[in-house]
Amino acid sequence: MASWIAATKAAATKAPAGLLLSGSAVSFVAIAVFGILVWLMVSRARSGQALRPIRRLTALDAIDEVIGRSTEMGQPVHYTMGLQGITDSGTIASLPVLGYVAGQCARYDTRLIQTSNDPIVYALVCEIIQQAYLEAGRPEAYNPDDVRFLTQTQFAYTAGVFEVLQRERPGAQVLFGDFFGEALMIIEAGAAVGAVQIGATQDVQQVPFFVAGCDYYLIGEEMYAASAYLSHDPLLTGTIVAEDLYKFLIFALIVAGVLAVNLGLPGFATFLKNV
């Protein structure tokens, strides 16, 4: 308790004066504009007004298909969400998808094997899968042994996934989260056992490997739209529409910057550069 008070006091003395912290004004305005857009779109959705639908995402449409294939083949489905912890946005975006996959596996009576590399994510995953089986009306089908914490070490985790793929020979593999150097290794190991693979990552460096190796893939921001897409929830869809509007705004600023530089308006260009 004493150390907590000391840490609190230390942080308080470091804080500078002024309403907004130094250097945070632009970021504050950016968040505020985005927040307003989200609020507007969510309000529209709440009032029942039609929103622009999310375009079709083949990789998400294929989830039912690959689970169905595994069911017909009598093989399990393997789900991995990469190497990051619960504070990572990719892991958070992956959890609703895991819930959906677990629910479908419960309905199809197909085994779902999930491997984690983070103890906190593992605890959460156990809850989510158990809940999904419960909501599907098949709580007895949940098998805790199929939800596995392997290790926190990158390549030991990879070796553990190899073992799962070789022994269990899943008919489908879903990779949804933040991956690093192990991504292509896991994808190739999945291909070697004949699994149909759906991949999604926000890591720009790994996207080419997902495109090259997976049968279906989501690129970058598409994975963040997954929960709205799968749930068909108008409120969540509203936030995706707000994201798109914000993207148009940024695109307009980029075009304005290009025009300012080429039309000889250095003042405006410098302002945008500083922003």
């Binding site: 968040i31 985005f34 619960i86 959890l95 390549f155 030991a156 720009v204 970058g220 739209a225």
Partner: protein, 206 residues
């Protein structure tokens, strides 16, 4: 309340951290720093729970003589042996470091070395002229590959310049476009959680 309780705690904590990031008066209270420390404490507790969970699972394998229970015995010996060694000698001790450097590091490097073969295998599966997009993919890949090697400029003068242009203009702009979408997407996820719209991480389904 099973769903609402965690949601209230999460939204409250997130609001404090976000506001403290911008507003000086809230930042001065030091709550945000305390929350950061609490995250570290929670992580440490989770590791302890993980230890208990792993012991339960593998002891169960040993007691019930399940298939491959020998591996569970080995696992328990290594896990507790390494933990005890660290506790007794300290994590900076030569014996502890020797075990890590001579077991964990080479094992990791061995698995990583497989990447070269798996990259080749992925290229073999992917690089087939199936469509126009794949053809562009292949041609760009070959252009960069040959341009990065000395033989590129030997075969066609200034090939390396073409390779550099491909990397610095089309590839770089594509990367930035994807990265921009990722930033906005993660921003959107954070906001959805903050507003309590996104609850998939609480129950698995909204």
């Amino acid at each position: 309340m099973r769903k609402e309780g965690p949601l209230i705690v999460m939204v409250g904590a997130a609001l404090v951290v976000v506001i403290a990031h911008y507003i000086t008066a809230i930042n001065r209270t030091g709550f945000s720093t305390s929350f950061d420390n609490w995250v570290s404490v929670t992580m440490a507790v989770a590791v302890g729970l993980g230890l208990v969970g792993m012991t339960q699972v593998h002891m169960g394998n040993v007691v019930k003589r399940r298939a491959g229970f020998g591996y569970s015995i080995l696992f328990l010996i290594v896990m507790y042996g390494f933990a005890l060694l660290g506790l007794i000698t300290g994590t900076g001790a030569p014996a502890f470091n020797w075990l890590f450097q001579n077991l964990d590091v080479p094992l990791g490097s061995t698995v990583f070395a497989l990447l070269a073969f798996q990259t080749l295998s992925a290229i073999y599966r992917t690089f087939r002229f199936r469509s126009f997009e794949v053809a562009v993919f292949i041609l760009a890949g070959v252009a960069v590959l040959v341009g990065s090697a000395p033989i590129g400029d030997f075969l066609i003068p200034h090939w390396s310049s073409l390779s550099s242009w491909l990397l610095s203009v089309p590839v770089s702009s594509g990367f930035r476009a994807v990265a921009l979408g990722v930033y906005l997407g993660s921003f959107g996820v954070a906001l959805r959680i903050l507003l309590g719209l996104e609850r998939g991480h609480l129950t698995g389904a909204r």
